[in-house]
């Protein structure tokens, strides 16, 4: 790999330190040897105020491939996360994370985190990733909102 990936990630780290949205956190994970793994981050995404998500801060794992920033990072919420566009494994469907669609090397960590926050309250029913949340969102809003609120409590700030 070229050192571009690490260089860029260290830049992201500095940028995040200087400026990140209120209520969010993001930090690289530690490797078993005590060093920092810049290619795997843990972040917390707060639900937007005034939405059914607001009570929680949702843990997000961000993995950067060696080819980053040419290739997008992989994002994951906890397995079983209740959301129409999140796979049972926690994997997220988002156009900006797809190389063939809207991913651009200039997209920053901050933009990604804000993107996920947006996605929480504005799911796309045309791109279902799990059956239960998708079905409830389409056909039983009350049930959907109850489950989301329950989940928010689970991840309460």
């Amino acid at each position: 790999m070229s050192s571009l990936c690490l260089q860029r990630l260290q830049e992201e780290r500095k940028k995040w330190r200087k400026d990140h949205p209120f209520g969010f956190f993001a930090k690289p994970t530690k490797k078993a040897d005590g060093t920092m793994n810049l290619q795997k981050w843990e972040a917390g995404i707060p639900g937007k105020e005034g939405t059914i998500w607001h009570e929680g801060v949702y843990p997000l794992t961000i993995e950067y491939p060696d080819e980053y920033p040419s290739k997008p990072p992989k994002l994951r919420l906890p397995a079983g996360f209740y959301h129409p566009n999140v796979y049972p494994s926690g994997t997220i469907c988002l156009s900006i994370l797809n190389e063939e669609q809207d991913w651009r090397p200039a997209i920053t960590l901050k933009q990604i985190c804000l993107g996920i926050q947006d996605l929480l309250d504005t799911p796309n029913p045309n791109s279902p990733a799990q059956e239960p949340a998708w079905r409830a969102f389409q056909k039983n809003k009350a049930e959907y909102e109850r489950k989301v609120a329950l989940q928010a409590k689970q991840y309460a700030k």
Binding site: K14, R17, T35, L38, Y82, P105, T122, S127
Partner: protein, 628 residues
């Protein structure tokens, strides 16, 4: 007349003597490497050191002309050297090993060569050798082929573009949604069968997550937990069947994957608004016949045969699991694993109304096989050997005043780019000023006495560097690019008291030191890449540590993230998300829609884009070049 009379007429007797004292490094003894070795010997190069880590395989013999059937499984480098003895006149030194192994091939070893010929088959090694050539300023002749396509590029450090100055194509990735829910091409099903199904059943770590009571499920809702557990459990169950060795349960696996899972997908009707619904197998199609039959691998079998073969091959793999430590990796040359992936992919294709493929064809996709032929390799190696004469200034009547007068070459006629030129030969470009490898860093070697690796602490290293190069030690980041690790920065100092040995900074480690303290004029110091080398001394002192004497140049802060505060438009959740990468094996991703210079004999070299860019520069009026 003597053996060397022809070359002597071409370059003159004096230059012939120079050539005879030239020491060159040839990296790779495969397709291009075999050809190059022959050419360099016949040209009377004095000393040729040849490195390869690979052994000979049957499928090499259609082009790697130094190898025979009897050489299969022998190391390439030593076998090649034995094979050329009949016509050899040079000093040949073979090495079996990985060129990126810093113990076997430390930086100073690379420095003992006058010129380096790359005949590699993977991007990582190409990038690594490129970096070594940049460290040492040794000319590098880079080359690669893929089928009819080939290229050759001389790299003269600091004077011409380096390997990383142009963007390289990396393996194609697929959105997880396409792979798991809505495949539309054979490759989607092959990726699913290989990276998802096979990996889960035979190569996954055995986890018992589902039974872990302390696990945070992200919800307290019992019903939810049950659902999630079930999802995880289902795969676990299949894995358990495989591990149990109970082959009477094989139909159950096939039912789950090709009936129940498809029925579940059908329930999400939004997926099928604009797509044709998949048609699951029926129970009557699933047989319990586990007889393994020999089949023609080059034809497409009917669905019943696919199902039968999948059953019998699962049975075979199940038996093998016990003997192989409950872990089998996919290997394109392991027929059982290949046939499992091929039949599973084909059954899925049938379900999703996608054409099925022969095992032979699926092997290419699943095994990332790049077509490779003798002729393209011979041409590319010949070009590389030939251009070395000019790089080494051995053609008196074709002297170059600057390295950018040298030519690089792409195949044109064979690559359907031109009918009027067999090759395109643009002159070399100067280094790309944004290249992260050759332009945006400075380089040097840090030599540390052997005994100090256990004494010198990371913070000492930081202060030595800060003092030597006037870095702001508070703002210094130390990255280990060999181990992909961050060792120290403004917000991370817990390793500062550790010795180099403790944090595994060893001879051969590459460190990237950055101090991006912004000056008032918007400049900062260029990042410094250091190669850690040892001084063979057991009582060295701190004062013996040597660093290159230089002033780190300033550079404009050119953020790679200029659109920083602009919100990303349309944060639309798509039926696309996680990407699955076809992993790189000995050969690279081939079945991508873009043609690329990649190959068994040089993979992944130049993206279509960079190639087209080159083409645009040299388009002539008469050339009909279709650029879409």
């Amino acid at each position: 007349m003597s053996r060397a009379s022809n070359i002597s007429k071409i370059i003159g007797p004096q230059n012939l003597e120079k050539l005879r004292s030239t020491k060159c490094l040839l990296i790779g003894a495969g397709g291009i490497g075999s050809e190059l070795l022959k050419d360099l010997i016949l040209m009377e190069f004095g000393e040729i050191h040849i490195v390869d880590l690979d052994t000979i395989d049957l499928s090499n013999l259609n082009r790697q002309f130094l190898f025979r059937q009897r050489d299969i499984k022998q190391p390439k480098s030593t076998t090649a050297v034995k094979a050329v003895q009949g016509f050899n006149n040079s000093k040949l030194v073979p090495y079996e090993g990985n060129i990126m192994d810093t113990t076997q091939f430390p930086l100073h070893w690379f420095g003992s060569f006058d010129i380096i010929f790359n005949a590699l088959d993977n991007l990582a090694a190409r990038r690594y050798v490129n970096k070594m050539s940049q460290f040492l300023q040794v000319p590098l002749l880079e080359s690669g082929t893929s089928g009819f396509d080939g290229y050759m590029q001389p790299i003269i450090p600091t004077e011409t573009e380096c390997f990383d100055c142009t963007k390289k194509e990396t393996p194609k990735t697929f959105p997880v949604c396409t792979i798991r829910s809505t495949p539309s091409q054979p490759i989607h099903c092959i990726v699913w069968a290989k990276n998802f199904l096979f990996a889960q059943l035979f190569a996954a770590d055995i986890t018992n997550d589902a039974d872990d009571e302390t696990k945070d499920w992200g919800t307290t809702d019992e019903e939810e937990i049950k659902r999630i557990k079930q999802e995880t459990n289902e795969l676990q169950e299949l894995q358990n069947i495989i591990l149990s060795g109970d082959n009477s349960q094989i139909p159950k696996i096939i039912e789950k994957i090709f009936i129940h899972d498809i029925e579940k997908l059908l329930k999400i009707d939004n997926l099928w608004k604009t797509r044709t619904k998949p048609v699951p197998l029926t129970e009557s199609q699933i047989k319990t016949d586990l007889t393994d039959r020999d089949m023609d691998l080059s034809t497409v079998w009917p669905i019943a045969d696919q199902i039968q073969k999948l059953s019998s091959i699962t049975n075979k793999l199940m038996t093998r699991m016990k003997a192989e430590n409950n872990h089998i990796e996919f290997d394109k040359d392991d027929e059982d694993t290949l046939e499992f992936v091929a039949t599973a992919a084909n059954i899925r294709s049938q379900i999703f109304h996608i054409p099925m493929k022969s095992v032979f064809d699926i092997k290419q996709t699943a095994g990332n096989i790049i077509p490779a032929i003798a002729t393209t390799n011979a041409i590319v190696a010949g070009l590389s050997a030939l251009v070395s004469l000019r790089v080494l200034s051995l053609l008196n009547y074709a002297k170059i005043s600057k390295p950018t007068e040298l030519n690089m070459v792409f195949t044109a006629k064979a690559s359907n780019i031109s009918q009027n030129r067999y090759l395109t030969n643009p002159t070399l470009a100067p280094p790309n000023c944004n290249c992260p490898v050759c332009s945006r860093v400075v380089r040097g070697v840090m030599k540390i006495p052997r005994n100090l690796f256990g004494e010198l602490k990371l913070k000492d290293l930081v202060s030595i560097l800060a003092e030597k190069y006037s870095f702001d030690s508070e703002e210094l980041s130390v990255l280990d690019t060999t181990g992909h690790r961050l060792l120290s920065d403004f917000d991370f100092d817990s390793l500062d008291e550790k010795t180099l040995e403790e944090i595994k900074i060893i001879p051969g480690t590459l460190l990237l030191i950055t101090d991006e303290t912004e000056n008032d004029d918007g400049t900062c110091l260029k990042p410094l890449e250091l190669y850690i080398d040892e001084i063979a001394s057991d009582d060295g002192k701190m004062s013996d540590i040597s660093l290159p004497d230089m002033k780190i140049p300033l550079t404009k802060i050119t953020s790679t993230t200029e659109e920083d505060n602009k919100p990303v438009e349309d944060v639309v959740p798509q039926n696309n998300g996680e990407t699955i990468v076809l992993d790189l094996e000995d050969e690279d991703d081939e079945k991508v829609k873009k043609r690329k210079f990649a190959g068994a004999d040089g993979d992944d070299a130049l993206s279509k884009k960079s190639k087209s860019d080159n083409e645009i520069e040299i388009i002539e009026e008469d050339d009909i070049i279709a650029l879409d």
